[in-house]
């Protein structure tokens, strides 16, 4: 048994990092508007935004899952 271990550090491209940054900002914006819509007593707008948030999160999860081994 070797006493040496190899740690592989994968460097993500700046494009990928930018994509995740946009995804994260998107979350913040959707959450703000969903909460704001609730404060405005606009339940339909709030619901659509919460559903959009779920879709946005799911999309990120799927992309992360697909790309994680690359």
């Amino acid at each position: 048994m070797s006493d040496k271990m190899t740690i592989a550090i994968r460097k993500r491209s700046w494009i990928e990092w930018s994509g995740w940054a946009i995804w994260f900002v998107g979350i913040l914006l959707i959450v703000q508007n969903a909460i704001g819509s609730a404060q405005e007593l606009e339940p339909r707008a709030a619901l659509i935004l919460w559903v959009s948030l779920a879709v946005w999160l799911l999309a990120g999860l799927v992309v992360w899952f697909v790309r994680k081994d690359r």
Binding site: S37, A38, Q39, E40, L41, E42, P43, A46, L47, I48
Partner: protein, 465 residues
């Protein structure tokens, strides 16, 4: 036409048909407009009796923190007991009262002469501004003038004059304030005849006067103050109901109060301030507001402001104090109206124009010609109010995409994008429907809402930077 007279269904059907595709419609349909716990724009009362929602550290107790002995307590003589009225003389004697009054008057004058911060003429004028109420052309004329105080009239640059008038009027309750200077053209916006039949006559007289037949406006009163007063969007979305229409009445009442206070404030500075003798008197409000940059005209043939959309009433005053004037604005509103047409589609009496472009041709004597607009049919509109709604209508105001609160950032982005890229207007209109904006809300539900004062958010007109 008949089916449109089913008021609630009329608006809801319209909005449903106009919505996005099946996906958005499905989401929209399952949303029940009754379950939201909201923030500062109006939550539901959490207490069954609507008691104020206090912070957690405020406790309800059985006895007040002031101890009371009901055996000692007697009913009070307000007239002689307090020091406000004759009671003071009872404690210190009339001579001492007179001495104190003379000292107060002397100090007041000396501080004004010395320009002591917070005691200047403009501060005193503001303090005396609330002495009277009510519509009147000449103003209540109860506040002391500088002359009566033994002071010269207030002087400053036009910019300073605009600034202090704005500050005072915002303090009195105006949402936005703008100024224009009357010239040969804009004078045409001052009525020839007022609602009560009195002629409105410009004159070289130094001081405004009023007789049984006419109101005389000095040519020196050539500066117009145009101002808006917010209506409650949350209340108006219950239209057409008496509940919704009273927010209009409330705004008019507040406008009247602001007018009287401003007239007295300007009088206290040493100038004239001529107002509306009754609701919507003196001049054409939307036109002056457009020229003063408070908003743009719209398919409603009414003012739409960038801040509150159509949820305002508009007022005006004439003064002889030179002010810094404002310019009209382009916030993409008139351009948006070309593609939107939501109000025209929602109007149950089909009184609003469906034309894409505004026109010079008026619909009748209720329109003043000379400007290119979306002229409305005021007769069919009014007939609908009387025959069907039984109250002021306002549906066109309530459904307008500009009639939004400002808690969700998206409204600001939409307004900015629409202003800069008109090609997006149709998309925004479609999304407005899909998100359920403009759908009539329950009047009964309103009674359970914990709304702020007047049902409005007074911070909406205050912008940083």
């Amino acid at each position: 036409m008949a089916d449109k007279r089913n008021l609630k269904l009329g608006r809801r059907d319209f909005l449903r048909v106009a919505g996005l595709g099946a996906g958005a419609a499905a989401v929209a349909t399952i949303a029940k407009p009754t379950t939201v716990k909201a923030g500062s724009q109006g939550a539901k009362f959490t207490d069954p009796a609507g008691r104020v929602n206090r912070p957690w550290w405020v406790r309800t107790v059985d006895q007040p923190t002031t101890e009371i002995d009901w055996n000692v307590m007697q009913r009070y003589n307000e007239r002689m007991g307090t020091v406000r009225g004759p009671g003071m003389a009872g404690y210190v004697g009339q001579e001492e009262v007179d001495r104190l009054e003379a000292a107060a008057a002397k100090n007041e004058l000396q501080r004004m002469i010395d320009n002591v911060d917070g005691y200047t003429l403009k501060d005193q004028a503001l303090a005396e501004a609330h002495v009277a109420l009510g519509w009147s052309f000449l103003g209540p004329q109860k506040a002391p003038t500088p002359e009566e105080r033994g002071m010269p009239k207030w002087t400053g640059t036009p910019e300073e004059a605009s600034k202090i008038i704005r500050a005072a009027m915002r303090h009195f309750g105006a949402a936005t304030v703008g100024f224009i200077e009357l010239d040969e053209n804009t004078r045409k916006l001052i009525y020839a005849v007022d609602p009560d039949g009195k002629d409105m006559i410009f004159t070289d007289d130094a001081v405004a006067t009023e007789t049984d037949d006419a109101r005389y406006i000095p040519n020196s009163c050539k500066y117009v103050i145009s101002y808006t007063v917010q209506m409650s969007q949350e209340t108006m979305r219950r239209c057409p109901t008496p509940l919704a229409q009273q927010t209009t009445q409330l705004a008019y009442k507040r406008g009247q109060d602001i007018q009287a206070s401003t007239q007295e404030f300007v009088r206290g500075l040493g100038y004239q301030c001529l107002g509306e003798s009754s609701t919507n008197a003196l001049a054409i409000s939307p036109a002056l507001a457009v020229l003063a940059g408070l908003g743009e005209m719209s398919r409603l043939n009414r003012l739409i402001t960038p801040e509150f959309g159509p949820m305002v009433r508009v007022f005006h005053l004439l003064i002889d104090l030179p002010v810094a004037v404002d310019k009209p604005i382009d916030a993409g509103i008139m351009e948006f109206c070309k593609r939107c047409k939501k109000c025209a589609e929602a109007c149950p009496s089909e009184s609003l124009s469906f034309e894409t472009e505004p026109t010079w041709e008026t619909q009748g004597g209720w329109n003043n010609p000379g400007h290119k607009a979306y002229f409305e049919n005021a007769v069919t509109c009014r007939a609908y109010w009387r025959e069907v709604a039984g109250t002021n209508c306002g549906i066109c105001f309530a459904v307008c995409p500009f009639a939004k609160k400002d808690k969700a950032w998206v409204h600001e982005w939409v307004k900015a994008s629409g202003s800069m890229v008109p090609a997006l207007d149709s998309f925004f209109r479609t999304m407005d429907d899909a998100f359920g904006y403009g759908v009539q809300a329950s009047a009964e539900e309103w009674w359970g809402l914990d709304l702020p004062e007047f049902g409005i958010d007074t911070t909406m007109s205050v912008r940083e930077g």
